[in-house]
């Protein structure tokens, strides 16, 4: 049973939910659990983590850790690793987690795997499961040597809900960063707020060209009185502005009805819409991951179905 070091994360002053998911994962493996938490003025959060299953929490409390930096965080996490000699280090696959984990692995010459959604013991070794090819396949992996580092997909595991008395220990840190933090800013929001929409019809690369959003998708959007959304590739290609993007790096939505048209369902898109009340997917590839989260779907040519659907909706409205 591996001794696990959890790298906790603070988001907006509170303990990030993904940290408690790491706790659940580590405890499920059955070995000792210790945690490290980095930030500034984090006494209360460290206490909270220690009472929510994080075990002994090493609290690195330093003004220089208020903002994430790869240099600063890597050096402090290394300190914790040297002190605790864990077999396994778990880090959330978040913008700071995916940034620091590979740096740590290279510094320690340690084996690493990113974005896993499952870790299980098998024959005295650990088996890690994650997606490949943007969700088309899953893979099972082994990581040689000790320690092993894994980043874990947020939301993949239910958060630990127990309360256990742990302890908090200060970890004296002297972080330095070559990168200078300047500011956080919000990407231009535009006027296209999808988070309050009742119905969203989103289009993906399957629409083929930007003109088809107007010609093919819009009649359906209008017939339903819906809002139009889009997948990341569509926005990256400049077909629609960023404010249309649904997904982890765009808007996270939860409408009563979400219709995905020509969207294969990359993880980053699914994260943004899978909690919609009802999902209809239209995509020509029956194996597209979008059908896994959809309630109803059709693996047909969207250019035939979408106009027919727009017409049927208009007719139903009378």
């Amino acid at each position: 049973m591996p001794k696990t070091l959890i790298v906790g994360e603070i988001q907006g002053g509170s303990l990030r939910e993904s940290t408690l998911e790491l706790v659940a994962l580590a405890r499920g493996l059955g070995g000792d659990v210790v945690s490290v938490l980095l930030g500034s003025g984090i006494g209360g959060t460290a206490e909270e983590l220690s009472n929510k299953g994080g075990g002994k929490v090493l609290a690195a409390d330093h003004a220089g850790l208020e903002q994430y930096s790869a240099d600063g965080y890597a050096s402090v996490i290394r300190q914790a690793i040297e002190q605790e000699s864990p077999d396994l280090i778990l880090i959330g696959n978040t913008p700071s987690g995916w940034d620091v984990a590979p740096k740590l692995a290279a510094a320690l010459d340690a084996g690493i795997i990113t974005d896993v959604f499952k870790i299980e013991e098998a024959g005295g070794d650990l088996l890690f499961t994650r997606r490949l090819f943007n969700g088309k396949f899953d893979g099972q992996f082994r990581v040689a040597g000790t320690p092993k580092i894994a980043t874990v997909q947020p939301g993949a595991i239910n958060a630990y809900e127990g309360s256990d008395a742990g302890s908090v220990e200060a970890l004296s840190a002297a972080p330095e960063s070559r990168t200078k933090f300047l500011e956080l800013r919000t990407a231009a929001a535009g006027g296209h707020d999808l988070t309050k929409a009742e119905i969203i019809v989103s289009g993906g690369r399957g629409l083929g060209k930007p003109e088809n959003f107007e010609a093919v998708l819009k009649p359906l959007v209008e017939a339903l009185g819906a809002q139009m959304g889009a997948s990341r590739p569509v926005v990256d290609a400049g077909w629609l502005p960023h404010e249309y993007q649904v997904g982890s790096s765009g808007q996270v939505v939860q409408p009563k009805l979400y219709i995905a048209v020509g969207i294969s369902g990359a993880i980053q898109h699914l994260v943004g819409m899978k909690n919609s009340n009802f999902i209809i997917a239209i995509n020509k590839d029956p194996d597209a991951p979008i059908f896994e989260v959809a309630d109803m779907g059709a693996a047909v040519d969207l250019f035939e179905l979408v106009p027919a659907l727009a017409k049927a909706v208009a007719a139903a409205k009378g």
Binding site: D99, R185, R232, P307, A316
Partner: protein, 258 residues
């Protein structure tokens, strides 16, 4: 300014992927390959610096013979020269092994900026960039969506979650792992493709860069890959477009939305 762009060749977006006979990777025979999409944006970002002034853009990749085509494409887009490293022992290399090879390549010259894509479209690991930066002892930023070079430093915007951006100042030399959508990627012009044929393309073995198979032995191994088990999944409708549309409308009515 001297810029290194790390490229990976991956299966074409529209390739029909099947699991290979040993069950640990896809069947690579008979499918088309292309430059990883993220890396195209990395290359474009470098070429924009070249367009703006004095910069030499070197592209490097690791892979079997087929990757030469992608290097020619990159040269056709405007890169000045290319480095191709291959050794059969790299066939099962993990990200750290790849980063060690790229670090050995980078250490032979002094690059001011190293550009990578945030991740590759095949394995989606997103590891090589930060690893390479660590091995070169230079700072890095991932998920870069904007760069602004000025006075030996670069102001960078990193994409966080939910539309938040982190702005920071990074001294050169540094490594930037770029997000898709950071720019609009150019196509190779006909003239560019003609010129590319005359541009240098260095082939290197591991021994040429002071490494051997043992130095890049993988720690990460794939046990098996498989099609994700179907959950409950969607209720897949069949019939003509009109029949399917009618069933969908029925459901939308039932949801009280019509």
């Amino acid at each position: 300014m001297k810029i290194l762009v790390c490229l990976k060749q991956v299966p074409h977006k529209d390739a029909r992927l099947e699991i290979g006979s040993d069950g640990t990777w896809i069947k690579e025979d008979g499918i088309k390959f292309e430059i990883n999409d993220y890396d195209n944006y990395a290359l474009e970002e470098a070429l924009r610096l070249k367009d703006a002034g004095e910069a030499e853009v070197v592209v490097a990749t690791i892979g079997p013979d087929r990757v030469t085509q992608s290097l020619r494409t990159a040269l056709g887009m405007g890169a000045d020269r290319a480095i191709h490293v291959w050794d059969d022992s790299l066939a099962n290399a993990d990200s750290l092994g790849i980063a060690k090879v790229l670090a050995a390549v980078a250490k032979e010259e002094n690059f001011d900026v190293v550009f990578c894509g945030l991740m590759s479209d095949d394995s989606n690991y997103a590891m090589v960039g930060p690893m390479l930066a660590q091995l070169l002892d230079i700072p890095h930023v991932t998920a870069v969506v904007k760069t602004d070079f000025e006075n030996g430093a670069v102001k960078v915007e990193k994409e966080l979650e939910g539309g938040t951006l982190e702005v920071s100042q990074v001294p050169l030399p540094c490594l930037l792992a770029v997000q898709t959508g950071i720019n609009e990627v150019r196509y190779a012009s006909l003239k560019g493709i003609m010129q590319a044929k005359k541009k240098p393309l260095d082939k290197k073995a591991l021994s040429d860069i002071g490494l051997d198979g043992a130095a890049v032995a993988p720690k990460l191994s794939i046990e098996k890959i498989y099609t994700p088990p179907k959950g409950e999944g969607a209720n897949l409708l069949s019939g003509s477009a009109d029949e399917i549309a009618t069933q969908m409308v029925g459901k939308i009515k039932e949801l009280g939305l019509l």
